[in-house]
């Protein structure tokens, strides 16, 4: 189903993007022809989503040229992209649960030239769009009552209602059932036939090869081997390009004596998210938890730490059962947890470095009674700043909001290190962090493990886990797909387990 016409719809060359000094995209170039489906694959954090966000006007590019239908294209905000005919189906959908399907489709711009939008008119208009796409959805149904798959169909219908000529899909199939996936693929083939071009990001390689005309592999923000016809590349070769060997990034590995089981989690179930997960972490051991987007790693960590509820399952810590886990309880048990979302759940942005670092260990920073040991706080903060090599001004006055991403993450780690944790759960600790800070973070983790602390290291970057961990559990679809000992480590093996469908 090769694209018949030759005219290029979207041309990109030399595109760069960096965040806080970290180069996320390095002169990316490719072209998208009319009616063509371009598959973009790569590890998590390789820069796939950033690429789409730049094209979709969510982020501004640092440098490089983008040509859309032959003219220069510089989107300032998502609305510019929509007006230019580009539609963006995000991984977390952008819908309003209190409105109906039809209302969601027309809520941002309504119907041209119509002041009144009676429900009957909206439903009729929406029905025509849905029928054109052979989507059997009741336009009057409230989005609240729809499953993930149906909601995705609404986003797509919304894109088509703006007569988008180019549609970006960012990990669309993570929480779809097989039948819902089939309808999506049929839809994409119809769009292609109608001359709509699409960029399809997914880590489900089988889907990509089956669906896309051409495939582009991205690793560390660089395209590897350029656009290739999907027939001309095997799955293993694609994985190889995706994985490759990272030059210059060596991962410190330290021999550790592994002690008895610290954390023992059995059969955690949370309907729709976790299907009976069991995992154990021993003292002095770094257990990696790998998985792709939507595999349920973050949900597992949050369930264990008591931030989110779960339906059933047993958690034991140092042999004692923990009935209903709660952060306050874990802090008393000296268990630390770094969340994936650093800005909203890890830091007090408007407060100073000292306030942030001494946040968790506050109960122990006191003189007599509850009097704050201010000097102790500053001393502990200063020690952490120097030990973790955090680049910051005067810790008492420096506001955390103004620190770089890497330094902010170090502050979060520092805050937990103060309680000298016996168990440390880290969720994507190195995401969006410069290479130097990444290395520092690995050394802290190793130092911790060497001193007998158990570490549960959650990441979606294989090299990192392979380099640092003693054991890696791989999650897929809310379940442990398998565990690899250090001897059996290989990116290919990990990816295979993660991709298992």
């Amino acid at each position: 189903m090769a694209a018949t016409n030759r005219d290029v719809v979207l041309k990109i060359d030399g595109l760069n993007k960096n965040f806080d000094g970290v180069r996320v995209l390095r002169d990316v170039g490719f072209s998208l022809r009319k009616g063509m489906v371009l598959g973009v694959v790569g590890e998590n954090g390789a820069g796939k989503s950033t690429l789409l966000n730049v094209l979709g006007g969510v982020y501004q590019r640092t440098s490089g040229e983008i040509e859309l239908f032959g003219e220069k294209y510089r989107p300032r905000e998502p609305m510019d992209a929509t007006r230019a005919g580009i539609a963006f189906i995000h991984q977390e959908l952008n819908l309003f649960t209190n409105l109906t399907v039809a209302e969601n489709i027309f809520v941002d711009e309504g119907i041209r030239g119509r002041m009144f939008l009676p429900p009957k008119l909206l439903d009729r208009k929406a029905k025509t769009i849905l029928d054109a796409l052979a989507i059997d959805l009741d336009p009057a149904a409230r989005v609240e009552d729809l499953t993930m798959g149906m909601r995705q169909m609404v986003e797509i219908a919304k894109a088509v209602s703006k007569d988008a000529k180019i549609i970006f899909f960012d990990e669309p199939t993570t929480s779809l059932s097989t039948s819902e996936k089939e309808t999506l693929f049929k839809l994409i083939r119809d769009f292609a036939a109608k001359g709509i071009s699409m960029i399809y990001i997914s880590h489900a390689l089988d889907d990509v090869f089956m669906l896309c005309d051409e495939v582009l592999v991205i690793r560390d923000g660089e395209t590897v081997g350029g656009q290739v016809r999907s027939g001309a590349i095997t799955k293993d070769e694609a994985i190889n390009r995706m994985v490759g060997r990272k030059i210059g990034q060596i991962y410190p590995y330290v021999e550790k004596t592994v002690g008895e089981v610290l954390l023992d989690v059995k059969g955690i179930v949370r309907s729709g998210v976790l299907d009976g997960v069991s995992i154990a972490v021993r003292s002095g051991e770094i257990v990696g938890l790998f998985g792709l987007m939507g595999a349920g790693r973050t949900e597992l960590a949050r369930a264990i730490y008591g931030v989110d509820p779960f339906d059933s399952g047993r958690i034991e810590f140092k042999g004692r059962a923990i009935a209903d886990p709660d952060p306050m309880l874990w802090v008393r048990e000296k268990v630390a947890f770094i969340t994936e979302n650093r800005r909203d759940e890890g830091l007090l942005l408007p407060k100073t470095v000292v306030d942030n670092i001494s946040l968790v260990n506050l109960p122990h920073m006191r003189k007599r009674l509850a009097v704050l040991d201010r000097a102790g706080q500053s001393a502990a903060a200063a020690e952490t700043v120097s030990k973790l090599r955090i680049k910051t001004g005067d810790a008492n006055r420096q506001i955390v909001r103004n620190l770089s991403g890497g330094n902010q993450q170090k502050v979060v780690i520092g805050k937990w290190l103060l309680i000298r944790p016996d168990l440390f759960i880290l969720d994507e600790p190195t995401r969006g962090v410069d290479v130097g800070s990444k290395f520092d973070i690995y050394t802290y983790i190793n130092a911790l493990a060497a001193s007998g602390t158990g570490v549960l290291f959650i990441s979606s970057e294989m090299e990192e886990l392979v380099g640092v961990c003693d054991r890696i559990a791989v999650m897929c679809g809310g379940r442990i797909a398998g565990e690899l000992e250090r001897a059996q480590f290989s990116s290919e093996a990990l990816l295979k387990l993660a991709l298992e469908k």
Partner: protein, 332 residues
Amino acid sequence: MSAAREERPQALSRLDRMERLSEAFYRYGLYIVLLALVVLFYALNSNFLSANNAVNLLLQTSSTGIAAAGLVFVMLTGGIDISISAVMFITAVISTVLTDMGLGLIGAIAVSIACGAVIGAVNGFFIAKLKMTPIIVTLAVMYSVRGLAIGFIGVKTLFFTNAVGAYLVKTRILGYIPLIVVILAVVMALCQILLSRTLLGKQMYAIGNNRSGAQKMGIAVEKRIFSAYVLCGALAGLAGLVSGAQVGQVSPAFAVGQEFIIISAAVLGGVSLFGGKGKAFPGAFLGVLIIMCIENGLVMARTNMYAYTIVRGCVIFVAVMLDSFHNKGETR
């Protein structure tokens, strides 16, 4: 693997059924409560259900109903406006003074709506543009407007018993429907149409549901919130005119504390304090009816005269508790 996928949608639907059950109770609960109240008070005093008591009830709900309809817009976007009682006061004052000077009814209605809209715009400016906290802004505006209005007339009590006031209260359309009830019906209809049939209304629901999502999608969030406060002010202005004419006398303590009654009526009517949920008609209207039934019923049942504030406080507490349970607010 795919088996796991298959069985997940069923799991969701079990959750949905429980959710839908509470949703249904929540939506029809209003009618049940209203019915229960009517039956209770009918038992206590037989002519509670007499025809002109019903009209009298509608009359009493009109000014609160008009203001509650306006408040729905603001509450949909997740905000609140407690300056509405001061707006009612200042428009009652202005329309009394102007009608004494010869302004007609239509003029009075226009002036009241315009004056309310201006105050709404002030609220909107501080809350939408400068993103300040609605409760504090509208509290400050409430005191400023009431002070301004009393300054305007000097510390006197005005009588709104001139021709326009009397006309507004006395005229009956088609023989028995009071003009004020017609105004209430028109306002309720317009608000509900605006909410359910226009883009502005839809976007207000959207903003209340997911403000950052609306922002990302390109909806003019600031403008919509600003217009919500203008609408709320305008309708509070109209409510002030109606209430002033009904009571006949506008003293400096006019409509003090009315904002809490209107807020609780809206919340009782299913308008959520956390935004994104609620209708003007039947929602807010039913809420007002319930509150008026309670007040009216209390008088009928000759209950102890101090119990009013206690009952009103309990009604508000229960209404908001249900709302918080249902819509899970953040502890603020």
